[in-house]
């Protein structure tokens, strides 16, 4: 057994789900967690990094486009390339695609509306550090809150994502934003980086309406424990 596993939550200017993520890890999952300022450049001691939802840099230029120039992102890239667990939720997903850590792009919702509501997603793979505690095909009740969640990728990238079992979640039933193939979350090639538009941080306690999001944090804990953390 290694040192106690530690989560980090990055705060960009304009992040607004940073405290939700911190709370979910600390109070619901019961694991050590610290905030990481966007100007920090060291991720030493962290086992998992969360890029939270919000409106980093006011969504100026494109959602997530300016956050990729934050000093911390160079460290997040190195951390991810070394196999560290990185989860980007909502704006965090947008930052991961803009940074090139995940393929594709999140475009304006096809309805042009900002959508904030609970919906259902299906777990498409359990072969990842983020979904190992779920069942394949398991339907999760989880909220979204975004104006730019319309996943787009060229046909070749889509084909590859499917062939490599890298679609983590799809919207079940209704596709709220026009995402190609109803994609709600994807993994990188190494399976240690996940981006998802729905919010597990807003669905980890019954008082919020669902505890299904907890499965994602519990999967991460399980993966880290298995790796001796």
């Amino acid at each position: 057994m290694g040192a106690a596993m530690k989560f980090g939550v990055v705060i960009f200017p304009g992040s607004n789900c940073d405290h939700d993520c911190y709370y979910a890890v600390q109070s619901v999952i019961g694991k050590p967690v610290e905030f990481i300022w966007h100007q920090d450049t060291s991720l030493k001691g962290f086992d998992a990094v969360i890029l939270p939802g919000g409106f980093s840099y006011g969504d100026y230029l494109r959602t997530g486009a300016l956050a990729k120039f934050s000093p911390v992102m160079q460290s997040v890239k190195e951390f991810a390339n070394k196999g560290g667990l990185v989860i980007g939720i909502c704006n965090g997903f947008q930052i991961l695609t803009e940074s090139g850590l995940l393929p594709g792009a999140l475009m304006r919702n096809v309805t042009r509306q900002y959508i904030c509501k609970f919906l259902k997603i299906s777990t498409e793979t359990t072969n990842s550090p983020f979904t190992n505690q779920a069942q394949k095909g398991q339907i999760l009740s989880i909220p979204i809150g975004h104006g730019d969640g319309n996943y787009f990728a060229d046909p070749e990238t889509l084909k590859r994502l499917n062939a490599e079992d890298r679609v983590a979640f799809r919207y079940h039933g209704e596709n709220p934003n026009g995402s190609l193939e109803s994609i709600a979350g994807i993994l990188n090639e190494g399976r240690n980086v996940l981006g998802m538009m729905p919010h597990p941080d807003r669905s980890s306690e019954q008082i919020l309406g669902s505890t299904d999001g907890k499965l994602i944090f519990e999967s991460m804990v399980n993966a880290l424990a298995g790796a001796g953390r």
Binding site: L61, R62, A65, T97, E98, P103, G104, A105, M107, R108, N109, V110, T111, R112, N150, F152, A153, D154, G178
Partner: protein, 82 residues
């Protein structure tokens, strides 16, 4: 040196905002507007003394690496005549 960078969605990418504008314009009585594509426009001024070659290199890099998301967008640069 001054350049204008125009960023547009690739022709193969759906533009919900442009489509909404086109539909709205139709209902205001301009059915002749067949298609609208929305884009972005950036005025870029370079510091005095930058050579034309270096200037072109800088604006090209800015447009490619910052102003455009190559997955969905493309750009063109218009240089202001001096």
């Amino acid at each position: 040196m001054k350049a204008t960078v125009i960023v547009t969605l690739k022709p193969t990418v759906l533009d919900p905002q442009g489509m909404t504008i086109q539909r709205s314009v139709k209902s205001m009585g301009l059915p002749e507007v067949a298609d609208v594509r929305q884009g972005k426009y950036f005025d870029v001024n370079l510091a005095d003394g930058v050579s034309p070659d270096r200037g072109k290199e800088i604006v090209q890099k800015l447009a490619k690496d910052v102003l455009t998301n190559p997955v969905i967008e493309e750009f063109r640069i218009v240089w202001e005549p001096r």
